[in-house]
Amino acid sequence: MSLPVPLGVRIYNYGRLGLDRWITPWVSDLSFRSVIPGGFASATIKMARPRMMQTPEVITGTATASGDSATPDYLVCSDADAADISVGDRVWIYDASLNIRFGGARFRVTGKVSAFGFTNVSFTPNASGVTNTGDVMRAATPGHFSYADPVVFDELTNLFNRVQIVDLRTGEIVWEGRVEDPQRDSGDDTWTLGCLGAMIVASDIQRPMWYVDGDVSNWSTYESDGLFTFTTDQENNWIRVQMAYEELDGGPVPPFNDYGGSSPLRWGHCEETDTYIGRFDITYFGFQFSSYTGVPGTMPTNRVNTSVADGNWANRVFGIDLTNWNTSPSTRKANAINGATSFTGTARQWIFCGLDATGGTTGYVPWIGRQFFMIEDPRIQVLRMDVTSTMLTAAADYPNDFVTVPQIVRDVVGRFLVGGWNSQFPASPVPFRGQVRTTDIHVDASSTAEIKHLTYYDGATAATILGDMMNAQPDAYWAIWESNFRATDGVNGQLDHGFRFEWATWPGGWGYQIGSADGLSEQPTGDGIYNYVFHKYQIDSQWHHWRRATQWWATQSGESPTLEDGSVTRMLTVINENVIGDTAAFNKAVALGPLYSKRRNAGTVTVKRPIHFHDSGVTSNGGASRTLDPWQIRPGKLARITDVPVAARMNEFVHPIDAFAADTFTRSASSAWDDPDIGPTWVTSGGSASDHSVTGSRGRQAQTSVNILREALLPLTLVDGDLYVTVSTSATATGAGHVIRAIGRYADSSNYLFAQVHFTTTQTVELSVRKIVAGSVTTLASQTPVSGLTHGAGTQFRVRFGWTGSIVRAKIWLASGTEPASWTVSTTDTTFTGPGQVAFRSRLESGNTNTLPVNVEYDNFQVTGVTDNPGSALDGVAYRVVATEYRASDNSCTLELDQVTTWRTETQIADSAAKKSTLVVKG
C-alpha cells in the first residue's frame, strides 16, 4: 500500500501571477518551521538540480514591441542566438522600462520573418511603441539537458521567487515564503533553497516611531536671553521653568507676547520622525505667586487671556485663569486635528509651552528663582494609522490621554505591513508581496492596558513593536500567515495572496489532542510545587514567630490548566526583625508569588500521525474542528496531552474550555433577542413577546407586570461554566424589589442553579446563589446586603457566576470598577451536576409598585465552559504550542511546548515598603 504524503511544492512569481512551476518531483527533502509570535518562519527545501526542468536559457538579443497592428511585434536576436529560437518556443523578455527582469510579457514564437526576426509574439508592451531591450530567455525543451551552467537555477529562482508548500488534497497552503538563499552543492549536485516565511516582512522596514511620549526628558528647553532656568525631575516627570531675572516689567515683552519665539519648553519630535501630533495632554502649573507672600509682584492684567500650551498658533488654549494654577494643577488637553485646524502641516509637529498674554501684560514683577510655570506628565500622541494605511485624523480616534494595544497594533499593520513594502511591480495585481490585506486582519481588542509612553527614536520594526505589545498584553501573540491558510475570498480564486495577520489571544481551550504515540519530552512537572511564603516576625517583646502561607495551583474556573496558572515559586521568605505585628511585608510577599510564574522551559512532542484539532475561532480569525496531518499543525494553540500522566494537575483536573458565547447586544431587535455575537440564538419567553428586545446596546426585559418572570435562554449546554454579565434596572425599587437571575445547568423552568441579584426597596444590593428543584427555591449562600453597593436607576453592576463540579459561586461589583479578587458568595451543592443551558430570568417581586415598565437590561455577556463531563484525571495538561517544525524526511512535526515551568534560583529582593524587612525569594 502506498500512502505518499500529499504535499506539493510550487515556486511562483509574485509580480506575475501566471508564472508558476511545481517542483515536487525534484524535491529530495524539505522542512519548514512556524513560530509564535511570528507566523511562517523558515523552510529548507533540498532539491536535485533541475536538469529535467524547463529552465530558461539566456539569449542575447533585443525584443521590440510596436503595439501597432500595422507593424508586427518582433524579436531581433544576434546571429548565433537566433538559431537557438524556434517556432513554438516560449520566451521571456527583460522589460527595461518596467525594470522587470523576468516577469515581463511572455511570448510564444509562431513564425520567422527573417533569420533574426520572429513574428506573432503575442505580447502586450507596457506602452505602445516602446522598445524593450535586454535579455531574451527561451524555455528549454522538457526533458532536455539544459545549460550545465550552474547559474541556470539562479535564474529560475529569480523568475519564480516565491515558494508554497501545498496540501494537494485541499489546496491549502501549509507553508509559504520567499526564496532567500539558494545554495548549490556540487557534491551531490543539489540545490538547497533557504526560504523565509511571512513573518520576515515584519522585520523588513525600520523607522522611528513615537506613539505617545510621556517623558519630560524629551522636551527641549529654550532660553531666550537667559530669561529662564530649568529644573527637570525625571522620576516624578516634571519640568519647572523659573525666572532668571530679578524683575520683569513693562510688558508686553517676551515671553508674554511672542509665543513661538520665547516659549521656554517645546516638543518637536514629530518633525524628526515625519509624523504629526494627534493629541497632547499636559498638566500645567502657573505662576508661583500666592504661595510667596510679602514680595512685590503683580499678576498680568490679561491673565485670563493667556495661552499655555499649543500645538500650533491657531489652537492655543485661551481663557486661562492663572491665579488658580499656582497650587493646583490644571490639565490642558488639545485635540486639534479636526477640520481646518487639522494637524497636517509642519507647524503641527511642534508643541510650545509658555505664556502668552495677548493684548498686553503689565506690572508683573516676579522674583528671581520663582516658578514661571511647570509642566507635569506631558503626553503627546502622534497621528496613528488604521489597518488600511489611512491616517486617523478624527478627534474620536484619540479619546484618551493614552494609547491602547489594539490602537498600536492596527497602526503597525497599516504603517508597516500594508502597502509599499515592495512597489516594484505595477499597480495590478495587488497586493504586492509582503502586504497584508486589510480583509485578512484580525486584531483582538480585549486589552485594557493604558500605554502612556512608547517611543522608538532609533527606529523599530513591526516585529519590535508587536513584541513590546505582547508585554502589554501577555495573553496575546502576533502572526502573519499566508492568506490562503484556510480560505480564499473567491474574487481572484486561488491567486489571492498577501498575508493574513493575527493579533490574537491564546485560546482558553485545547487545540490539539496528543497522546502516547507522540513522544513527550519535557522538564519535570510542578507536582507538589507551590508558592510558599515563610514569614518570620516579631510579636511584642518576642520574636521568632513564624507563619507560613501557600499559594496552591490556582486557576479560574473553566480556564485551561496551563502550567503558567500554577504560579510556581519555590519559596518566599519574609523576615521582620523589629516591626511588631507588621503583616504588610507578608501580604506583599504573598502577592508577589504570581510574578514569579513566568519562567518557561520548553518541552517538545513529535507528531507523526493525524491528530485532532479544535479551534473555536473565538480568539483569532480561525475556526475549525478537524483532523490534521503533521504538516498542518501550527503554533498558537494549546496542545493537550491526553494520556500521559502529568502529575501537576492529576488531582484537580479542570476540563478545558470547549464552549463559548458572548453578546454585546450591539444590534436592534424587537420581540426577540436574536443571535448573539457568538453562540446560538437567544430564546425569549415570559410576559409579552414585545417585552423582549435589544436596544442597540443592551438586551432588555421590560417588566410590564409584577411577579412574572421574563426569560432569555441560550441553548448552549454546559456542564461547568463561568458567566459574566452587566445588569441594571431602569428605576429604584418601590414596594418590593427587582430580581435578576443568571442561570446555569438549566434543565427546565423549574430546575436549575442560579445567582440572584436582588435590588431592594432600600437600594441595597443582595447577592445569593440558589437552586430551584421541582419549582422549589433553596438559598445555598447569600450576602445581604453586599457592602459598598447602592442601587440606582440605570446603575450597572457586573455579575460573575461560576459553576464547576459541586462549586457554585458568584460575585458582584460596580461595572465601572474592577473585579474583586474574591467571590462574594461561594458554596457547594451536588443537586445538579449534569449539563444544562444558560439563561437569564428577571421579575419584579410581588408587591412592587414601580411605574411600569421597569426595564431590566443586560450587557457585555459572555460565558465559557465545558460541554460534557470532565474526563479522567489523566486527561492531561494543556501546553502552549509556540513553534512547529515539519520534516518530510520522516513525515513528522515537532511541537515546541511552552509553559513547562520550573523553579527559580534564589533571588533576593529589597522591599522598600516593608520597613526593615527582608524579602527573599527562593526556589
Binding site: 529535467m52 501545498v166 491558510f485 480560505a487 480564486g493 485532532h612
Partner: protein, 465 residues
C-alpha cells in the same frame, strides 16, 4: 521468458524501438534468476514510542525500483558484440528512457520509466561466441501502460442542479493497480475564470448530497426567497436574499442539512464550503462564514466578499464532517466502519460591513477535499482551444484551437498569460468510482464545458488491461 524487452520512444502499443534486447537473433534476454522486476520497496514513517506497543505507519511511499536482467549478446563477431555493447550502454546512460515489457502470453505491455544506470556486469568468459551482460537499471516505482482515454467529450454543466453531469461526473473502469495522475482536457474557461476540481473515491461518494439550494434552506434573519437572474435551479431562478434590514451583524442567514446522503456513512469527510453569491449592487462589503451549531459550535474563518452584481463563488474554508469529535475508522477491532453520523445543521452566516446592497445566495456547495482538489486559473482569455491539466507533469497550460493533445499539431497557447494552479491534479483510482466535482467561477449557471480525461495506467510490474 518475456517476449518483449526493449527500449522504446513512447508508451504506445507499437512504439518506435530504440533497442530491442530480445529480438530472437543477436539479442536474447536470459530467463534465469537474474530477471527481476519485483515491486519497489516502501519508505515508511512509523510513529512509535515506548508508551505503546508496536507502531503506526503513517505514510508509506514507494521508492525507486531496481530492475535486474541479463541480456546475451550473440553477434557473430567480437566487433559485432562490441557494437551491441555500445548500443546497450547508450540506452542505459540516457538520463531517462522507456523500457517496454510484455510477457509472452500477456496481451498488455507495460513501460518502465528508467533513469541513467551504470551498473552492469559484463561477462564474456562464459561462452566464447556470446557475451552476457547483467544489468541493474534504476526506474520509477510504477510501470505505466498504454494511454487510456477514459472520458471523451463529456458535457459538464456548471449548474449542480441540472444536466446529466451537474457539476460532477463519475469515472469508472480505471485500469492499473495503483492511482495514476490524470491528463484532463477542459474546455476554454474564459479569461480570469477559475476551475475548482476535486475528486472523491472513498466513503461511497455517489450516495452523497453535497450541495443545497439556498432558497430551500431554513431562512434566517432578514432572509427571504427572491428571484435572481442566473440562479441555479432551473426556470425559477430562485435564491435566498439577505436584506440586512434589521440586523447587519454576522448572524445566521441559512440553515441546511448539508451534507446528507442516502447512505449516511458517505457524509464523512473533509470539504471546502463554497457559496455562490452575488449582490444587488456594488460598493458594499460583506463578511461570511459557515457555522455548525450544536452543543458545541464550530465556525469557519470569516471571509470578506466585495459586492459584485454577477455571481461568483466564495470559498468559506474547510469543514470536516463530523465536526468537533474524532471518529474512528472502525469500531474497535471489529473492522466495522460507522454506518452513519449524526449530523449537525450547517449554517451560513453573513454580515454587511459597509454599503447598502442585499446579498443573494444561490447555493452552497461542499466540494470534497479528502483526496485531490485543484483550483486552476485561466489568467487570460483564449479564442478557443482548451485547457490541459497535465497530471504526469504537474503543469497546466492552454492549447490552441485545432490542436489535439496527442495528435500531430500540439500548439501550446496560453493566450498571453499562463495557467497557474494550486492543489493537486486528480489521481485516478482503479477499481472504484471516481467522482469528480467541478465548478467554474465567472460563467453563467447554464454554461457547459466539454471534458476529456486520459491517463496512463500504473502497474507495479505487469498489466491486466
Amino acid at each position: 521468458m518475456p517476449s518483449t524487452w526493449k527500449f522504446v520512444t513512447e508508451p504506445t502499443a507499437s512504439p518506435a524501438v530504440l533497442l530491442d534486447m530480445n529480438d530472437g537473433d543477436e539479442w536474447r534476454l536470459q530467463g534465469d534468476d537474474s530477471f527481476d522486476i519485483s515491486p519497489p520497496p516502501l519508505r515508511r514513517t512509523v510513529a512509535s514510542s515506548s508508551l505503546a506497543d508496536g507502531g503506526l505507519v503513517t505514510s508509506a511511499s514507494y521508492d525507486l525500483r531496481e530492475i535486474r536482467f541479463t541480456v546475451r549478446l550473440l553477434a557473430a563477431t567480437e566487433d559485432g558484440r562490441n557494437v551491441q555493447l555500445k548500443e546497450l550502454e547508450a540506452e542505459l546512460s540516457k538520463p531517462t528512457n522507456l523500457l517496454m515489457y510484455q510477457a509472452p502470453s500477456s496481451s498488455f505491455p507495460v513501460f518502465f520509466r528508467t533513469f541513467r544506470s551504470d551498473a552492469f556486469t559484463f561477462d564474456k568468459q562464459t561462452g566464447g561466441d556470446f557475451w552476457d551482460v547483467a544489468c541493474s537499471v534504476l526506474a520509477e516505482p510504477f510501470a505505466i501502460g498504454v494511454r487510456h482515454d477514459i472520458v471523451s467529450s463529456l458535457t459538464l454543466t456548471n449548474d449542480p442542479a441540472s444536466g446529466t453531469n451537474p457539476a460532477r461526473m463519475d469515472i469508472t473502469g480505471v485500469r492499473g493497480d495503483s492511482p495514476s495522475p490524470a491528463f484532463v482536457r477542459y474546455g476554454n474557461l474564459g479569461g480570469q475564470a477559475t476551475l475548482t476540481l476535486a475528486q472523491r473515491t472513498i466513503n461511497n461518494p455517489t450516495a452523497l448530497t453535497h450541495f443545497a439550494q439556498a432558497e430551500a434552506a431554513t431562512l434566517g434573519t432578514d432572509t427571504t426567497v427572491a428571484t435572481v437572474a442566473d440562479s441555479s435551479g432551473g426556470a425559477s431562478n430562485n435564491a435566498a436574499t439577505v436584506s440586512f434590514a434589521t440586523n447587519a451583524n454576522l448572524v445566521t442567514r441559512l440553515t441546511m442539512s448539508l451534507p446528507s446522503a442516502s447512505s449516511s456513512e458517505a457524509t464523512k469527510g473533509r470539504y471546502r464550503v463554497l457559496a455562490r453569491v452575488r449582490a444587488s449592487a456594488t460598493a458594499t462589503t460583506f463578511t461570511m462564514r459557515w457555522q455548525v451549531s450544536g452543543s458545541d459550535t464550530v465556525w469557519g474563518p470569516t471571509v470578506t466578499y466585495t459586492a459584485a452584481t454577477s455571481y461568483s463563488i466564495v470559498d468559506l474554508g474547510v469543514l470536516e464532517v463530523p465536526t468537533v469529535t474524532t471518529v474512528p475508522t472502525a469500531i474497535g477491532y471489529s473492522a466495522l466502519a460507522a454506518t452513519g453520523y449524526t449530523l449537525q445543521a450547517l449554517q451560513i452566516q453573513a454580515a454587511r460591513t459597509s454599503g447598502s446592497a442585499s446579498l443573494h445566495i444561490d447555493y452552497v456547495y461542499l466540494i470534497p477535499a479528502d483526496e485531490r482538489l485543484v483550483q486552476v486559473n485561466q489568467a487570460a482569455a483564449i479564442s478557443s482551444g482548451f485547457i490541459v491539466l497535465d497530471g504526469p507533469n504537474t503543469v497546466a497550460y492552454g492549447m490552441a484551437s485545432g490542436t489535439t493533445a496527442f495528435g500531430a499539431t500540439r500548439t501550446i497557447d496560453n493566450g498571453g498569460g499562463l495557467v497557474p494552479f494550486i492543489g493537486g491534479i486528480p489521481l485516478l483510482v482503479p477499481g472504484v468510482t471516481n467522482r469528480w466535482y467541478a465548478l467554474i467561477t465567472g460563467g453563467a449557471v447554464t454554461a457547459t464545458t466539454t471534458v476529456d480525461v486520459s491517463y496512463w495506467p500504473r502497474w507495479r510490474e505487469v498489466a491486466t488491461a
